[in-house]
């Protein structure tokens, strides 16, 4: 938490102008499984889509909040969540065109909205309503002009809590997403 707060500490030079804020949409595919207690399921593919808002607080630092629908689970168990990742990261210019690289980390609570399980071993009635995970990711971004930007996002999400009340299994997933954003203004 301390590095995140330090990273997001506002630069006086920027605060003079107002912090830059932005918003956008994202979507893509996920592949994940459930793992824990020395076992893991086979993986399964799913989808994800959502919105994000963010702000830049100094030269490099970016903070953002997403609200996304995401499919997790593994093998024959599909879990649908609304996930709300809170992320902090740093952006650096690639010095070619307007290409930018961004790395980030955060914390992501997710709220169950659906479940389908085709195995008797894992019962949807036992799925916890809330799941926590640790997202780590890397983005490649480029601008379209006047602050609009598009990008590709590769994220690994490691479950920090068990999915089921009665089994030590956590979600883990790789997410491949595209995103498009625009400036929201200065706060």
């Amino acid at each position: 938490l301390v590095p995140i707060v330090a990273l997001l500490a506002a630069s006086p030079a920027l605060a003079q102008n107002g912090l830059e804020t932005f918003l956008g949409v994202l979507g893509g595919a996920t592949v994940g499984d459930m793992s824990g207690g020395g076992i893991s399921t086979d993986s399964r593919w799913g989808g994800t889509a959502g919105l994000f808002v963010g702000l830049r607080t100094n030269w490099y630092a970016v903070g953002s909040i997403e609200v996304s629908w995401i499919q997790k689970g593994g093998e024959r168990t599909r879990l649908d969540y609304i996930e709300v990742p809170v992320l902090a990261g740093a952006t650096i210019p690639a010095m070619t065109g307007s290409l930018r690289f961004r790395g980030y980390v955060g914390i992501a609570p997710a709220f169950k909205i659906g479940c389908r399980s085709d195995t008797v071993l894992l019962d949807c009635d036992d799925v916890k309503n809330t799941e926590w995970s640790l997202p780590l990711g890397f983005m490649v971004l480029t601008r379209l002009g006047r602050g609009q930007f598009i990008g590709l996002d590769l994220r690994y999400s490691l479950g920090l809590s068990d999915v089921f009340e009665n089994a030590e299994l956590g979600n883990r997933s790789l997410q491949f997403r595209g995103l498009i954003g625009m400036p929201l203004g200065r706060s």
């Binding site: 102008n17 107002g18 030269w59 065109g97 307007s98 002009g145």
Partner: protein
């Protein structure tokens, strides 16, 4: 440091700055005039200024701490709204100052 401080990579400093701004902000070079407001007119953000500083640094062959831009802007444009006050010419003046600070080529 370039041998001729008025030239950067064989180009006149103003031409160089205009081309770099156009490249970083993904706008046509013709859209970048001396009076273009980088934030208000061309949509520049803080990370874009960092990119500009890196590229000026590379072209001049000198080390420019990022804070130097903030200091320059604070001195050059005191109490101004930087959204509208930073122009192409501001960046040219900054590059000129960095050339002076770096001194004559060895």
């Amino acid at each position: 440091m370039p041998d001729d401080p008025s030239l950067v990579g064989g180009r006149e400093l103003r031409t160089f700055v205009r081309e770099v701004i156009a490249d970083v902000l993904m706008v046509a070079p013709e859209a970048v005039t001396p009076d273009s407001r980088l934030v208000a007119d061309l949509g520049a953000e803080s990370i874009d200024f960092l990119d500009l500083i890196f590229r000026i640094e590379e072209a001049l062959g000198v080390k420019i701490p990022p804070d130097r831009w903030s200091q320059f802007v604070a001195e050059r444009l005191p109490d101004r709204n930087l959204v509208t006050a930073i122009t192409t010419e501001t960046v040219v003046e900054f590059a000129e100052r960095e050339i002076r600070l770096a001194g004559p080529p060895a």
